[in-house]
């Protein structure tokens, strides 16, 4: 009986993964599905979007008068140990940064780059900036329009020099959450490292001192409280700290 079960399970796994190969094409660079048919469907949507929407079109930008109320959800302060998502290691470091107003804060940019280095807020501010009024759309179903100011990620990547093998950009936050985007999104003109919101410094609950904006995907790709950036040759969304292993789609352009 148990032997039969194992056989059946092996068969189902095999069937599921071959279905996945058919569904998603077969590339070693793809986001992993862990044999989950839902993640295979996510990959199908991702591939279809990349195939049918190949241009770097800009997400709609709005007028100043369209700026709306903006709820802050998820982690609203990584230094607060009472919160459900709290990092024992990073939380106290973030608290230190809060105390001296991000004076010593730096973000590292490393991995498949020519010259890995770190940037202070002042250094990021000295790079060319972009201000955009865009719609933040949450997977929960709500939306808000806000003005974001920051440095386009492609300027930062140009400053460190991408290696030709680079395919993904991974980022990590002070609440230990991690994620990555492909180069198509990373090099998009509206993909910015934002340090300003609605004309002032980024508030704590919206991701101070620096958050990402990925305007062609849902809100949770636009990670708050950034602490490091790693350029990758292969897909790695942070594993247990990333979305897929936590039961969420990696691609949320839909």
């Amino acid at each position: 009986m148990s032997e039969k079960r194992i056989h059946r399970r092996t068969f189902l796994k095999g069937a599921a993964s071959s279905a996945g190969l058919i569904l998603a094409g077969c590339s070693e660079y793809d986001p992993p599905t862990y044999g989950n048919i839902l993640r295979m469907a996510d990959n199908l949507t991702y591939k279809t979007h990349r195939l049918l929407l190949p241009d770097q079109a800009l997400a709609r930008e709005y007028d100043y008068s369209d700026i709306s109320a903006s709820p802050a959800i998820g982690t609203t302060n990584p230094a607060d140990p009472e919160k459900s998502i709290y990092s024992e290691v990073q939380g106290p470091i973030y608290e230190q940064h809060l105390r001296n107003e991000f004076e010593d804060w730096r973000i590292t940019v490393e991995g498949s780059v020519m010259q890995p280095r770190s940037f202070s807020l002042a250094e990021l501010r000295s790079l060319p900036s972009r201000t955009q009024i865009t719609r933040h759309t949450c997977e929960e179903g709500w939306s808000a329009i806000a003005q974001w100011t920051g440095v386009p990620l492609h300027h930062v990547l140009a400053a460190v020099g991408l290696k030709p093998s680079a395919r993904y950009v991974q980022y990590r936050a002070y609440d230990d959450w991690a994620d990555c985007i492909d180069m198509f999104d990373a090099l998009h003109p509206q993909t910015i490292l934002a340090y300003g919101m609605n004309g002032r410094d980024l508030p704590i609950s919206h991701g101070a001192p620096l958050r990402l904006r990925v305007e062609r995907q849902l809100g949770y790709k636009s990670m708050k409280f950034l602490r490091s950036i790693v350029v990758l040759d292969e897909f790695d969304d942070g594993g247990e700290y990333g979305n897929i292993q936590n039961g969420w789609s990696w691609y949320v352009g839909i």
Binding site: A57, P71, T76, E140, R200, R216
Partner: protein, 242 residues
Amino acid sequence: MAEAHRRWVRVSHWTIVASFLTLVVTGILILMVHPRLYWGEVGNDLVPAFLEIPVSNNHQPDGWVPTTTFSEVPGSPISADRTYFIFNENGWGRSLHFLAAWFLVVTGLVYVLTGLIGGHARRNLIPGVRDLSPGKLAQDAREHLRPKGELQAGPPYGAVQKVLYGGVVFVALPLMLLTGLTMSPAVTAAAPTLLDIFGGYQSARTIHFFGFSALVLFLVVHIAMVFVTGARRQLRAMILGK
């Protein structure tokens, strides 16, 4: 004897049934995460809703810290931090919704193309001018409400059936697809016209909800009519074709 429903119709019918039911269940699940509807581009817990659906207690006006403003200027945008846990199964709910949508879209395209090329759509789904006269529709509706014995399964269809089937295939489901795509930030970056057509992201979401309501109402009437006209025979016809 000719088949009551042809094989490609039966296979598409049941594939669409499975996809549709999955879309209904996951759609309700997704709605429960934020059961408030709005008009325009913006809608969230800090602005008034156009309609609140009582399907979860995720909207708690007192579950937020006091609002702060971005500047001293009157009318400055506000913000507030959420302090409570919400019900949220979107991790699998959304992905299952889109998996089912893929099955519905692919099957639906095959069904519509086959139907348009082979004449099934013209004969059985698209109502003619005579079908649309109020007298004909009223008479047909009366006959459906008080059937004289078991009705024959499958086409030819009456005027009301044509209007409903044609409306689902050519109006309601395409509208669901388009309003669904309007909720995709990647799609609307490439095709911002969708936002203009439906009046914004939240309007598209609201229309998607009303489309869902209409389709569920159709489903209820459809199943009721199957029972009224002989469930055994109707099911046999749609499963076995005879």
